[in-house]
C-alpha cells in the first residue's frame, strides 16, 4: 500500500487512538486499589512529637530494616538562643530507644524524618538502570531485582533517606509502607504514633483531612530551595531544621 498524503492523514487519528491504549497499559492487579486515584504524602506535626521512637521501632519491625540503619528516624534539635544557623542535632540509634536528658536552655524539639517521596525526586533521576522510580501514586520505590547497588541514589538524596542494605547490597529506603497503604491501612509509623504527630496523607483524595490542615496552618517542606517536590509536610517547623 502506498502511503499517499490522504492515507497518511487518515492514519494519524487512528494511530493517536491506538496510542491511548498503549499508554493506559494493562489493568492494575489489585482491583480495589487504583494507583491513578492516589497521590501519597505525609503530614508531620512537630509540636506533637514526643521523641518516643515508636515510629522508628515500628518501621524496623514492619520492614525488616537492618540494625543500625533507618528508613525513618528522629532528630533532636537544640538551638541556643539566636544561633539558628548552628543547631546541635543528634539522633542516637535513630531515636529508636528514645533520647537521654539534655540541656534545658534554648530551644529543644524533635523532628521525625523519612523519605519525602519527592514528585521530582533527585534519587530516581540518577539511577542508571531504572531500578528506582516514582510510582503512579507518588511513592518513590526501589526495584530490588534491578538495583546494582551503585550508590548514586544514596548520594543524590538531599535528605539522606537512602542506604545500602548490607545483606542484599541494594539500595533501600522508606516505601511509605506501600504494602500497607495499597491495602487501605496507614503506614506502620503513623499507625503506632501515640500523639498523632505523623499522619499519612492522600493528596488526591478530596476528603482527606490534609487539605483542611494545609489550608489553615503554616506548613513547610524540607529544603524547598532544592525544588524536589517533597510531599512530607512539616507543621510548626523551626528555621534551624535542615
Amino acid at each position: 500500500m502506498d502511503i499517499t498524503r490522504r492515507r497518511m492523514l487518515l492514519l494519524l487519528p487512528a494511530a493517536a487512538v491506538a496510542w491511548k491504549y498503549v499508554e493506559a497499559g494493562t489493568p492494575e492487579a489489585s482491583p480495589n486499589y487504583k494507583m491513578s486515584e492516589h497521590w501519597w504524602g505525609m503530614l508531620i506535626d512537630i509540636p506533637k512529637c514526643i521523641g518516643c521512637g515508636s515510629c522508628v521501632r515500628a518501621c524496623a519491625a514492619e520492614n525488616d530494616v537492618p540494625e543500625g540503619y533507618y528508613r525513618t528516624w528522629i532528630e533532636r534539635y537544640h538551638v541556643a538562643d539566636w544561633k539558628i544557623e548552628r543547631p546541635e542535632v543528634e539522633s542516637p540509634d535513630g531515636g529508636k530507644q528514645g533520647f537521654p536528658p539534655n540541656q534545658s536552655d534554648g530551644k529543644n524539639f524533635f523532628v521525625p524524618k523519612l523519605c519525602n517521596h519527592c514528585a521530582d525526586s533527585p534519587c530516581t533521576q540518577v539511577c542508571p538502570v531504572g531500578a528506582t522510580f516514582v510510582s503512579p501514586d507518588g511513592v518513590v520505590l526501589v526495584d530490588k531485582s534491578y538495583c546494582l547497588g551503585c550508590r548514586y541514589c544514596v548520594q543524590a538524596c538531599p535528605y539522606g533517606c537512602r542506604f545500602i542494605n548490607p545483606k542484599t547490597n541494594t539500595a533501600e529506603k522508606c516505601t511509605l509502607c506501600y504494602h500497607r497503604i495499597t491495602k487501605g491501612l496507614t503506614t506502620a509509623c503513623c499507625e503506632v504514633c501515640p500523639t498523632g504527630a505523623r499522619q499519612l496523607a492522600d493528596l488526591k483524595n478530596p476528603k482527606d483531612p490534609i487539605h483542611e490542615f494545609l489550608k489553615t496552618h503554616m506548613v513547610q517542606v524540607l529544603k524547598p530551595h532544592m525544588a524536589t517536590g517533597a510531599k512530607v509536610f512539616y507543621n510548626g517547623m523551626d528555621g534551624s531544621v535542615r
Binding site: 528514645g98 539534655n102 540541656q103 526495584d143
Partner: protein, 164 residues
Amino acid sequence: MFKDTEHLIRLAAVMIIALAVFGVVRAAVVPKSFGQYGHYRADAIADIAARPIAHAGHEVCEGCHTDVVEVKKLGKHVVVPCEACHGAQANHADDPATIKPPKTDTAVVCSRCHEANSAKPKAFPQVVTAEHSGGLACDTCHQPHRPKIEEEKTTAKTTTEVKK
C-alpha cells in the same frame, strides 16, 4: 549501478541479522512490564505491594479486645494505638489462639514516652522515673490502659511530676 553490488548486499544481510539478534535478545531479557509507566519495571510495584504486613492496626485489635477499648475510653490513653506499646501484632491477629504477645514491661514502655526531656512538648505529662517511682514498674500503681490514679491513692503516693 555499482560495480560490486554483492558486497553491499552481504553487508546489508549482516546488519539485518545483527539487528534481528539484538531484537530477539532484547525481547528475551527486558521484562514485559518495563516501560509500562516509565523507565522501570512496572511489576516491581506489585512485588513491593505483596509484602506481608506486621502491624495489624488498632481497628483489628479493637474487634476482639472490646474490654480494653471500654477502659481506654475513660482515660487519656484513648488516643494511644495498641501497637505503640504492645509491638507489631499481625501474627497474633492472624492466629490469636496459638501466638500470644509477650508481656509488656511497663518500666520500659511507659518511660519511652513519659521520661522527662526538655525537647518534649511542655503540656505532655513527664516524670523523672528515678525520682517518681524509684525503679518500680509503672503498673504497680498505674493501670496502663487508664493511667490516672483515683483520688485517695494519689494522696498516699508522692508523685513528683516534673514539668520542664
